[in-house]
């Protein structure tokens, strides 16, 4: 999901930068000051998550954790993820710097979008099934991020055999792993420190 330097066309890069900038600005405005320590730690966790490799069959894939960031921070997920991506690009050349805008949109937009839609299900309520909601958050965030990435590549004009490339990029096992990790993290936090959840 970290698109490298020199892959995307100029219009896509600019569009991504504009949307990304807007997302970061809105996110920064909406974060409350007492949420900032949590935001910093989540950004660091997101930064490190890419180095956790999960061997699946012949390949290695890495965790994204954008679903977890979305549940815990809501709109704040955008600046948090962008800062993490910025440092990954600077220190490890993980994703190009010009592609930072696009990469932020690809990874941060789905959790923010899901947060807006699913927020009411996160509210403290006897009927809420936190495990299933957070599993869905993790699963769908990575799924939508992959789709956004494919859209960005298609818009650049990459000759894609669309169906097979979607199947290839959509690493199904990692979706379940991300969902499970998000679910376990959120249910644990809800038990131990429910105030940490953004609702």
């Amino acid at each position: 999901m970290h698109i490298s330097e020199g892959v995307l066309s100029m219009p896509v890069l600019i569009g991504g930068a504009v949307i990304g900038l807007a997302g970061v600005a809105i996110g920064l405005k909406k974060i409350e000051s007492d949420q900032l320590p949590k935001a910093g730690i989540m950004s660091a966790a997101f930064f490190v998550a890419s180095f956790i490799h999960v061997p699946i069959g012949a390949t290695n894939i890495h965790l994204t954790l954008n679903g977890l960031v979305g549940i815990l921070l809501g709109y704040g997920a955008f600046p948090v993820i962008t800062v993490g991506l910025l440092l990954q690009a600077l220190l490890f050349q993980f994703g190009g710097l010009t592609a930072l805008g696009v990469n932020s949109v690809v990874i941060a937009l789905p959790p923010v979008f899901l947060f807006i839609i699913l927020k009411r299900f996160l509210a403290p309520n006897k009927d809420r099934n936190l495990f299933i909601i957070s599993f869905a958050f993790g699963f769908l965030s990575v799924l939508m991020s992959t789709l956004l990435m494919i859209i960005a590549l298609l818009l650049t004009g990459e000759a894609f055999n669309t169906i097979s490339s979607i199947i290839f990029a959509l690493n199904i096992p990692i979706l379940f792993i991300e969902g499970a990790i998000t679910a376990f993290c959120v249910t644990f936090i809800a038990k131990v420190k429910p105030g940490l959840l953004n609702v």
Partner: protein
């Protein structure tokens, strides 16, 4: 509140000054064998040569076989009498030094090469066939030490990954700290 800010700013400035000087005084030493001489080059991290640095060379029995000084370009050379493991140390003053190990086989590989060259001078016709046969073997021997050095260089580059992760986390926490400061300012005003 003002006292705390001033004293922490002073501590920060002192730390930065010290860290800059530590970096400048890391001494890199590079040495290689050509014929019967060891060539030595040394510089500070950042590229500046170690001028008039003390050069100490110890052999495998830990005896000092050479004491010299680097020139303006940080270079020195030593003509050795016998093949052995050599430890080359360059001291740049203030307790900063670097060293480099030369393995015995780097030297013995070369001396065999020298004997081959002497032989080929004698008969012109045989020269070509000897060169062709032994060329790759000689190259392999010379390149062996370079391969070893490349390997350890690559490993060093890889190990920096942990350093980068730690610094990335530091940067991230710092950025959010700055955001927190800015936010509290706008709140107050």
């Amino acid at each position: 509140m003002q006292k705390k800010t001033i004293s922490s700013a002073i501590i920060l400035a002192i730390t930065l000054i010290f860290s800059a000087s530590l970096y400048a005084h890391r001494v890199n030493v590079f040495a290689w064998v050509e014929g019967s001489k060891i060539f030595i080059e040394s510089n500070f991290a950042g590229g500046k040569p170690v001028k008039s640095g003390t050069v100490l060379i110890k052999n495998a029995s830990d005896q000092i076989v050479f004491e010299g000084v680097t020139n303006e370009n940080g270079e020195a050379e030593y003509q050795f009498n016998q093949p052995s493991d050599y430890l080359i140390t360059v001291k740049a003053g203030s307790g900063h030094q670097g060293d480099w190990k030369i393995n015995k086989h780097e030297i013995t590989g070369d001396s065999e090469d020298q004997m081959e060259e002497v032989k080929t001078d004698e008969t012109a016709e045989i020269t070509v066939s000897i060169d062709n046969k032994n060329l790759s073997a000689l190259l392999d021997q010379k390149l062996k030490s370079i391969h070893g050095q490349l390997k350890s260089l690559r490993q060093e580059i890889q190990s920096n990954k942990i350093r980068d992760i730690i610094s990335g986390i530091g940067f991230i926490l710092g950025i959010f700290g700055v955001i927190a400061i800015l936010k509290s300012r706008t709140k107050r005003s």
